[in-house]
Symmetry: C2
Subunit: 210 residues, 2 copies
């Protein structure tokens, strides 16, 4: 498990990161999200609270980084087509969502949305990383000539993430079915983009001003 | 504001319902979701707690019914096409999401997902109503000959609701842009269904057993 503030990856740091990740997962499994505290994670992992706060500013960032993804998320390898790239990304997003319990994801989201400063930080870090991955895939499609211009990344983000997030977490459907849902969503989004269903970012007024 | 248990709509009941809805909205606006209690709503509305519990089993059901929709949600009028029907439904869903603060929606969702009994009840009531509305629209499209069979309603539900829910609540994007996003989502879903992107419910293994 890599960290937010650490760019290198020294062995000693990795052991702490691993211990933190194991502690977070164990405590969530045993007691749920509401009871999770930085104190309890520090005690379980056998590290100081300072070691945790050197990595993560808040309990929420620690939980998201351990369960979903950290700040070093890379674009999936170029598959040669927009549909292939979006399928790879949807599989990854589906896996991230499917392995986290719905009560943990909703508790975390409620914390983030109840605190404007936390929400702004979340947007500037984890969401920005995901947005950048999507922009990279769209730019590849423009370079290949599959798309005339880059469509609005936030809208593509919502189209891809939305059904996969909603399936287990809002609708309470079986997370084990996400691996079958993910390629369906990816195909629908890729086909829609190639068919020109979204206007380019500069003109659509969806994510720009207007 | 109509209610869960009341089928009629007697004037005295309607006044209580209206007072409850006003009280819920005012308290959420002033103090947020975490502080909302049935006691506070009863006091603010000038009704007994018993009057609330005659209508709603829990605080969460009361909040959802007031803010999003009650159990008497009807399918939108037949527009003559699947795309038209889904556009009407997406506009309604977008309106329901857009008028509720993200912290209220996420707090409510966290409560529902933290309690299995509450989650099951939510699925059997409010989600079932939405699912039934979607099935009605899909059956109309089958009758018109736009679709050969009814596609899997839960998947269509996730495709339609997912991006609209995700936009303000997960991604923190501007809810004022939902009215422009909703028809884009509806068109993408309608086109995908008509193009056969989803196998019929009986065969796809997404929402069935398999």
């Amino acid at each position: 498990m890599s960290t937010v503030k650490q760019a290198g990856g020294r062995p000693r740091e990795s052991r702490v990161d691993h211990a933190l990740a194991e502690a977070v997962r164990a405590l969530l499994s045993e007691h749920g999200y509401a009871s999770l505290t930085v104190d309890a994670v520090a005690a379980r992992a056998g590290v100081s609270k300072a070691a945790i706060y050197r990595r993560y500013a808040t309990k929420e960032e620690m939980t998201f980084a351990v369960l979903v993804h950290d700040l070093r998320e890379e674009p999936p390898a170029d598959t040669g087509s927009l549909r292939g790239d979006l399928t790879a990304l949807a599989a990854r997003i589906g896996d991230q969502i499917g392995r986290s319990a719905a009560d943990v994801m909703t508790g975390l989201l409620a914390d983030v949305r109840a605190d404007a400063a936390l929400g702004a930080r979340f947007a500037a870090t984890y969401l920005a990383v995901e947005r950048s991955v999507i922009a990279t895939l769209l730019d590849r499609a423009v370079t290949r000539g599959e798309l005339p211009e880059r469509p609005d990344s936030p809208v593509v983000h919502a189209l891809l993430l939305g059904p996969l997030f909603t399936w287990p977490i809002v609708l309470g459907e079986d997370p084990d079915r996400i691996p079958k849902l993910a390629p369906v969503v990816a195909r629908i989004v890729a086909d829609a983009l190639i068919a020109g269903a979204l206007p380019p970012a500069a003109q659509d007024g969806l994510s720009g001003g207007s």
